[in-house]
């Protein structure tokens, strides 16, 4: 577990996550979806989090924007966010260091008020992330409207529902009316649609999500996320459900966004190619932990952790197809607390597992650069076959319980390709 010293946060660090843990308390027991995760997001940078199904990458994203629903709960860690106004508001309390505020120690209403204005999020399947019976333009106008209403008084959520009583709400529930949003936010919504490259934005704004193609709808989602001019845009598998040529369009928009200088992007995906094209720094997640992180070159060119090596070895190379792939044997372990092994969770599948992999493994510094860090003993000493772990035979053992459908961990098991 990375040592939690007083956070040395330099100015260009926008968000610093320290030792974040999120757990799900289900009937089958406690599931450690995210455990002791730390990473930083600097100004207009793209930070990548890569991992397979069940690694906890989506839960990390949801924890960042405080959207973990029950039975999940953020049980520990700090989320430092640089916001001069906020720091001044909570000056003097232990939640503030310089301009950075630990969001975990401020009231929940304050965290909620940051949604849309400081943090915003786009999801893997845009079709299910938009309300099917409300027009796309109206939903984007809502995002603009809530920020406009909050401008007056950011902390009090009451301001967001001024002049929008229960009566008007119920009418809205039945008739397609625009009483929550006003003309101005609709004009801005159309502007946003144009900015993300949707043709005929005025006409398309009056259409419904099911009349958009996958690529167009993801652009609309990005437009909606930009409504509040957020500092950090969290993208959870944004292009996984899209075709390659459409994916390239969306990745370009995100790249444009980051180069425009106002927004940093947290890119969460299982696709190593997308990570390579988009990210400056990357963290590799396995079984709820970041097992290796650093600059892109550190992790891709001289990975130390056997899981990272296995991951890179499993990806077929488009330009130089190898005769045979080197897969990682076995299955991802269940994250059930009572079944989690001691020490490194990858030991059972690791070809270079040693006896002292059974004790808790601290995060060592990698040698590729000062940002390169690895949670593996191999960063500290060479592999010594004499002390190899005995039961790491290569046979795929079938006894452990299935990981894909661990209900609770919200990392959806199957990544749909088509």
């Amino acid at each position: 577990m990375p040592d939690v010293s007083a956070p040395a946060l330099d100015d260009d660090v926008l968000v610093a996550v320290r030792d974040l843990s999120t757990r799900f308390f289900t009937e089958e027991g406690q599931i450690n979806a995210v455990e002791g995760v730390s990473f930083e997001v600097r100004d207009n940078e793209v930070v990548g989090i890569v991992g397979e199904s069940g690694s906890g990458k989506s839960v990390t994203a949801l924890s960042l924007i405080d959207l973990v629903d029950s039975p999940g709960e953020i049980t520990g860690g700090e989320v430092w966010y640089r916001d001069a106004e906020l720091a001044e508001e909570f000056a003097g309390s232990d939640a503030v260091v310089g301009d950075h505020v630990d969001l975990r120690r401020v009231p929940a209403t304050v965290r909620r008020s940051l949604r849309g204005s400081s943090f915003s999020m786009i999801f893997q399947d845009p079709m299910s992330s938009l309300n099917p019976s409300v027009t796309v333009g109206e939903q984007i106008a809502e995002a603009v409207e809530v920020q406009r209403r909050a401008k007056g008084n950011p902390r009090r959520t009451r301001s967001r529902t001024q002049g929008y009583g229960l009566g008007r709400l119920l009418v809205d529930a039945v008739l397609p009316s625009r009483s929550y949003t006003d003309e101005e936010s609709h004009a801005r919504a159309i502007k946003l649609l144009e900015q993300v490259g949707i043709p005929d934005p005025a006409e398309r704004a009056d259409e419904y999500p099911h009349q958009f193609s996958g690529g167009m709808l993801q652009r609309a989602m990005i437009a909606q996320a930009l409504a509040g001019e957020p500092d950090v845009l969290i993208a959870d598998e944004p292009t996984t459900a899209l075709d390659v040529t459409i994916q390239a369009q969306i990745l370009d928009i995100l790249r444009e966004l980051q180069e425009s200088g106002e927004t940093s992007v947290v890119m969460i995906t299982h696709d190593l190619g997308v990570i390579a094209r988009m990210c400056d720094r990357v963290g590799v997640m396995y079984a709820g932990e970041i097992v290796e992180r650093g600059r892109l070159a550190d992790v891709f060119d001289d990975p130390i952790h056997p899981y990272t090596q296995g991951l890179l070895g499993s990806v077929p190379d488009l330009e130089a197809p190898a005769a045979r792939l080197q897969p990682i044997e076995g299955n991802v372990p269940s994250l059930l607390d009572r079944e989690m092994p001691e020490g490194c969770y990858f030991a059972d599948r690791c070809p270079k597992a040693m006896a002292d992999c059974r004790q808790p493994v601290p995060e060592y510094d990698g040698d590729a650069s000062e940002e390169h860090a690895v949670q593996c003993v191999l960063a500290d000493r060479e592999y010594d076959p004499a002390v190899a772990l005995d039961d790491t035979d290569g046979v795929i053992d079938d006894t452990d319980s299935v990981t894909d459908d661990t209900d609770g961990a919200t990392d959806d098991g199957v990544v749909s390709g088509e």
Binding site: D69, R115, S129, S133, V146, A173
Partner: protein, 330 residues
């Protein structure tokens, strides 16, 4: 397809269903033991008189001819004569229809008005007292036979407390509306109308209130778990807008559909509620026509009930298509 075309399609289907209803009613007559003749002919009538009556009623012609005549007369609005009272079936049935419609509408308004807010509140305040109360009430509501509830209401409210009338229908809703002119008479007629319709409406409406409460509650819980709700919260929308403007709107779609389906249960319930409160509607007419084997009246009532069911279902489709855009602009 535009909304107009969707409704046109539903109307065409409705016409098909009405034609089906009419045909089945026509066929029912042929699977009844002891056909219409002995309902009309005096008991000791000999063969010739029975033959004469058969000829007069046109029963001896081949089936398809009878069917043809039956349809033609139907289109002219003539559904034959009541065996018992010799009265025009059409006028008889349509004179009784308003009472049943009034009762059904009153019950539905009570049901929807109460149950949707109750369902929403119990979904948003899950496992709190209001949720437990709503769940128990709605469970009892759908498990109570409405005629028994009617009798118990009569016992408690009418016999013991003497507030309401237990039978008959003093004044029609339309008269109440007409009486609006003079304030004094309006209050009196309104009170008279309420005194009569409240008990039957509550007895009939309880099952529906309970059913819609359960539907709204489970629908709301279902919608609140969907990804678009989480995405709405992620853009900073206040909880009230997320719940009512987004989640509730999508909850109403399946609720409306089921209401359309459960319409039959409502009309069935009205029939038996009328029997308990001797409410002069179509239901009482149906029961009397069966007991007296007055076949044309029963036939006319079934046709009117079936057709009104189809009309109301088309209305439900119109509401449905304005709520769910996917149905209309594909």
């Amino acid at each position: 397809m535009s909304q107009g075309r969707f409704i046109a399609k539903r109307v065409l289907q409705g016409v098909g269903v009405v034609w089906g209803v009419v045909s089945i009613v026509f066929l029912l007559r042929f699977i009844t033991p002891g056909s219409a003749i002995n309902a009309v002919a005096p008991l000791d009538a000999d063969r010739e008189t029975r033959q004469a009556i058969a000829r007069e009623l046109g029963l001896n012609q081949p089936l398809h001819v009878q069917y043809g005549d039956y349809l033609v007369s139907l289109l002219q609005g003539d559904m034959g004569f009541s065996y018992v009272r010799g009265q025009e079936v059409t006028t008889l049935v349509f004179s009784k229809l308003p009472a049943t419609v009034e009762l059904a509408v009153a019950a539905t308004v009570v049901a929807i008005g109460l149950s949707i807010p109750l369902g929403v509140v119990s979904a948003t305040r899950r496992n709190q007292p209001v949720d437990w109360l709503a769940t128990l009430f709605s469970l009892a509501g759908i498990s109570t036979p409405n005629f028994w509830l009617g009798i118990m209401l009569i016992l408690v409210l009418a016999v013991q407390l003497g507030i309401f009338q237990t039978s008959g229908r003093a004044v029609a809703a339309v008269e109440v509306a007409a009486a609006v002119v003079g304030p004094a008479s309006f209050v009196k007629t309104l009170r008279l109308w309420l005194a009569h319709i409240t008990l039957p409406a509550v007895a009939l409406g309880t099952y529906f209130t309970a059913l819609v409460t359960r539907l709204t509650r489970s629908g709301m819980l279902d919608e609140l778990g969907k990804p678009y709700v989480r995405a709405a919260r992620a853009k900073g929308l206040p909880e009230a807008v997320v719940r009512y403007k987004h989640a509730l709107r999508n909850t109403l779609i399946p609720v409306i559909t089921v209401l359309g389906l459960q319409l039959g249960t409502l009309i069935g319930g009205a029939v038996i509620t009328e029997a308990v409160f001797s409410w002069p509607g179509l239901g009482t007419l149906v029961i009397r026509s069966i007991n007296l084997r007055d076949w044309p009246v029963l036939q006319g009532s079934l046709i009117v009930i079936g057709t009104s069911f189809v009309l109301v279902n088309i209305l439900v489709d119109v509401v449905y298509s304005s709520l769910d855009p996917r149905v209309v602009n594909d």
